[in-house]
Every structure is written in C-alpha cells, then in structure tokens.
C-alpha cells in the first residue's frame, strides 16, 4: 500500500469526510471563484475581513479528497489571522507543496498532513486550489478597498 497511506493520511480522509468551514458567506468582504483546468474542480472562496483580520472564511465547491481536505484545513489554519499573516501562511504552504520548504506544524495545523502530496505533482494543484484562492481573494479585497478609499 505504501505510497497510498503516505498520501492519504487518516487526517486527510477525516477532513474530506467532515469538511470544516464549508459553504458560502453572506456579506463577504471579498469572494473569488477558481478552477483547476486539469480536472475541472471548482473552489468558491469567501472571506470576511474585520479590523484587518480574517474574521471568517468559507470554501465551497466540489473536488477530490485532497482538494476538499486542503480547503477544510485552510479555513481552520487561516481563520483569525491578519491579512499579511494569512498571506505568509499561504506562501509557506505553497513552498511546502513544491518541496521548497519543510512544513511547520505550528503554522499549518492539520494541513501538515498534506506534506505527502508534494510527491504527487498532479495532486499539488488540488491541494493548492483553495489556498491560492485565498491569496487572490485577499488581493481582490485590497484592490477594492484601495479603490473605495
């Protein structure tokens, strides 16, 4: 079984079966919709920003176990962070997925279990879909507030 257990750690299957932070957010500060051209998986990401922090974050859309678990873990890891912190978190996760950084459990929380995905290049896109959506969503938020201000 080897590689398979390594990829699909129990924690991943658990987040897949019981997704946290799922759904859409009424009155979101910013939203994005992204998709993975390889498989067609979609991610809708909404954030609520209060006092420069992610007061709430929700991810919706269907996808494989890796993309769903990653989205679930993202909402847990990112909620409550200030925006720069959240971007640093995303960047750290991105580096881990590309094998360019060692995962820091303090930062990633359960998402540390996704470490094994780095060895499956095609699946890296699945894991990153929602995380990069957060990056884009924060950029979107900053652009619209900058224009508004």
């Amino acid at each position: 079984m080897g590689g398979l257990d390594d990829l699909y750690q129990q924690l991943i299957l658990d987040h897949y079966r019981n997704r946290r932070g799922r759904g859409r957010l009424e009155g979101a500060s910013a939203s994005v919709h992204e998709n993975n051209p390889v498989c067609g998986d979609e991610c809708f990401l909404d954030i609520l920003v209060e006092d420069g922090r992610l007061a709430d974050i929700r991810a919706d859309g269907d996808g494989c176990s890796i993309s769903q678990a990653a989205a679930s873990m993202l909402t847990e890891a990112a909620r409550g962070r200030d925006l720069d912190d959240a971007l640093a978190l995303v960047e750290h996760f991105r580096l881990v997925m590309h094998g360019d950084a060692e995962p820091e459990e303090d930062l990633l929380g359960d998402a540390v279990a996704l470490e094994g995905v780095a060895r499956y290049p095609v699946r890296v896109k699945c894991a990153l879909l929602s995380w990069l959506a957060l990056r884009d969503c924060i950029a979107e938020y900053r652009e619209t507030t900058a224009m508004g201000g």
Binding site: L7, C39, G40, D41, D62, C64, S65, I66, Y120
Partner: protein, 416 residues
C-alpha cells in the same frame, strides 16, 4: 466475466511486442494500462523503425540530391502512403501535421478564417473534444461566424433530430467526432456527412478515436476533411494526419508558410507547391512519419477488423465487470456494437482523481478529469469522470484488475 478464449486476438501474445507492457513493474505486478484513449503504447518495431531511420538514413527530405537524402525522402513518403492506405484515401490528399489538433486548426484557419463571414454557422456536437471546438470558436471570434452545439441524448448519442434541425442554409461546416473519447459512442458519421452535404455544408470528421480501433474507410464516409493522430494508433508523438479532398486542398490558400510548401518566393509574393506539400511548411516530422508508417503496417498485420472484434469482446467483459462494482454509474452506450473502447464512469462518493490515484497503487492506469470535453461534462452534470480505455493489447485480466481495484477503492474511501 466472459470467456477470454472468445476474444478475437491473442492479446497476451501481442503484449509481448510492447516493451512497456512486457516489462515487470517496479512492484513486480503487471501494468494494467487502461488509458489508450489518451495515448497508446508503442510496439518495439515502431521504435526500431525510427531508430533505424536516424542511424541509417537521417537527412532532410525532398531537397537533397545525395543518396542519404533520397533514402530519407523515400522512407518519409512511404509513411504517407501507409497512412493514406489505412483509411483508403488518395496520398495527395494526405497531409502530415503535428497532431490531430493541428489538423483541425489547419482547416479552421486556412479555410475558416478566410471563408467564414458574419452569421455563418459552424455546427459541432456537445461531445466534441476541445480540439474540435476551440479552433472553431477562435475563427468565429475573428469572422463573426457562430458555433452551434448539437445536444447529446441521455444515452450518450448525438441527438440526430436536433442535428437535422440545426443544419441549414447558413451552415458552412459540420464538425463531428467519429468515436467519442469520453463516452465511447460511435456516431453515424456517414449519415451526418450526407445530411450536411445536402445543405451545401462542408464536413470534418474527427476520427482520432476510430482509426486506431476499427476499419475506417474515408471514401465511404465521404467527408471533406478527416483527421487522426499518430500517438493513439501505436505510432509516435509529434505527427497527425489531415485526410482532405484533394480538390479542397488545391483550392485553399495555405496555412503555415515557409520552406517546402512554396513553388516560388519573390519579394512581391509567393506561389505554392503541389499538394500535399503545400500544407507542410518547414522540415516535416520525418522520423515520426517513418514511425507512423511502421505503426500502420503493424495495425494492418494485426487487422483492423480483428482489433474491432477484440474490442467489442473487451467491451462485453468490461460492461459486465463494471456492473459488479457497487455504486458505479457508467456514461455512454451500453451496447458493445455501438461503442468503442472508452468507458467513463462515476463511483458514488469517490472523486475521479481519488479513483485514479487509488487504482494506480494497484497497477491500474485510468484517466480522471474532463477528458478535454468540458461541454459534455456540463451536459452530463458532472465535473469530471474516471475513464478506462482499452486497445488491442488489453486483456480480460486488465479488466478484472480494474474491477477489483474499484471495489476496494470504494471501501478505502469509506463511501457512505
């Protein structure tokens, strides 16, 4: 499970000719390669033919007077003869491209971009591969023409009544897939071509998934353009074929400009070489044509009709096997007579990516995704499917391994 002895080909013996299938896998098991709709494996003789070309006869073609160049030209043009012969098409109407996609783009750009005008209609179906959709959308955007999509029935067939209603005086091109790479449906292309011609429209048949798997007679289909691709028919990557009515090729302006395709070039303008070379700009895929020629000879030796019979038998085995997997939904026709070798399915509660990953751990290679048919995916109401696809080297063993792995997969992901 069906009796392997009834199968028309000795696939187990044929497998020995494919090094990647004959070699033991790192984990000791066999490779159950069920992704031939994406690309086929290659028999040793095809690799040998290309190797021999490079080692014995490599030179640029058509222009050299020395014997090496003449030998290279002979082997290259023999590849064209073989490709033309396989589909019963005249050689001067047989153009080499880099893949089937380029062949369709050639028609879209060389004919469509110049001939289509605002309001003209190009009719495709909802089950087309992106390669037979996007080129038409691109030239439509440039010319003001409209691309119309014929719906697909719930059984996975082209809705022929709808198609009949769509093809009319404004229709300039009907572009349709012969065998669906996603559903496996075999479409009545002869009938569709006749329908289009009756309204004065041209036709293009995407035979990418039929030519490798069954006898295809271009003359009897009667389409203005037919395309197929080398890498799905035991040949190499880097080569495709446009089989076009020679009269159209003569009348059309060229697509790609450059060396080989000219008769004369002056600062005031240029004149074109004879067909088919008029449509082959630059150094052609020489070794690839040699490889494709050998692939055709291989297919002829095995026999396209026997390949078809074998795949119908595999289809029977496959349909039975998939029926035994709890929670599995098959898309596309259930009748082995009316379908090719691609089987798309969903497994309740398990995402296709996860199916693909799990099956890989059992030595079973299937594809997961939209199979370059996103409009079809939307019509089916899914984002992606898993797809198992067979070829002449597929055995009942492969199908059994697939079935067993699917059953196990559903358990592993603890589907409700």
């Amino acid at each position: 499970m069906g009796n392997p002895a009834q199968i028309a080909l000795d696939s187990a013996r044929l497998r020995a000719e494919f090094p990647i299938l004959a070699a033991p896998r790192p984990d000791g098991g066999a490779l159950h390669y069920l992704d031939s709709a994406a690309t086929s494996q290659k028999p040793q003789r095809v690799l040998d033919a290309m190797d021999a070309y490079y080692r014995e006869a490599n030179a640029n073609v058509h222009r050299g007077v020395y014997h090496l160049a003449a030998e290279a030209t002979d082997r290259f043009e023999a590849g064209r003869d073989a490709a033309a012969r396989l589909v019963n098409h005249p050689r001067e109407g047989t153009v080499f491209t880099k893949n089937a996609t380029e062949a369709i783009n050639l028609v879209a750009w060389a004919w469509g971009a110049r001939e289509l005008t605002a309001g003209d209609e190009v009719v495709v179906t909802m089950m087309e591969h992106h390669s037979n959709t996007v080129p038409w959308q691109l030239v439509a955007a440039m010319t003001g023409a409209v691309v119309r999509f014929c719906p697909v029935t719930p059984e996975g067939d082209i809705d022929m009544d709808a198609l009949r209603g769509m093809i009319g005086p404004r229709t300039r091109m009907v572009a349709v897939v012969h065998v669906s790479n996603t559903l496996g449906t075999i479409n009545p292309v002869g009938e569709i071509v006749a329908m289009a011609h009756a309204e004065g429209s041209l036709t293009l048949v995407d035979a990418t998934q039929s030519v490798p798997h069954m006898p295809v007679d271009a003359a009897s289909i009667g389409s203005d353009f037919i395309v197929f691709t080398g890498h799905k028919m035991c040949g190499p990557t880097g080569i495709g074929v446009l089989a076009a009515a020679p009269g159209h090729l003569r009348a059309m302006e060229p697509f790609l400009g450059g060396g080989e395709m000219i008769s004369d070039v002056t600062t005031d303008g240029s004149t074109w070489n004879d067909i088919p070379w008029k449509f082959e700009a630059g150094t052609p895929p020489i070794a690839e044509a040699v490889g494709l020629g050998e692939a055709v000879r291989f297919l002829e030796d095995v026999g396209p009709d026997r390949i078809r019979a074998h795949e119908q038998e595999i289809a029977r085995v496959m349909l039975d096997a998939l029926d035994e997997v709890p929670g599995l939904t098959l898309y596309g026709p259930r009748d082995p007579q009316r379908r090719g070798a691609s089987f798309s399915f969903a497994l309740d509660g398990v995402h296709p990516h996860d199916i693909g990953q799990f099956l890989d751990s059992r030595g079973v290679c299937v594809r997961a995704g939209h199979h370059c048919t996103k409009p079809l995916m939307r019509a089916l109401g899914v984002q992606s499917t898993a797809r198992a696809s067979a070829y002449l080297y597929t055995t009942a063993d492969d199908v059994i391994a697939l079935r067993d792995a699917l059953v196990e997969c559903r358990q592993w992901f603890g589907a409700a």
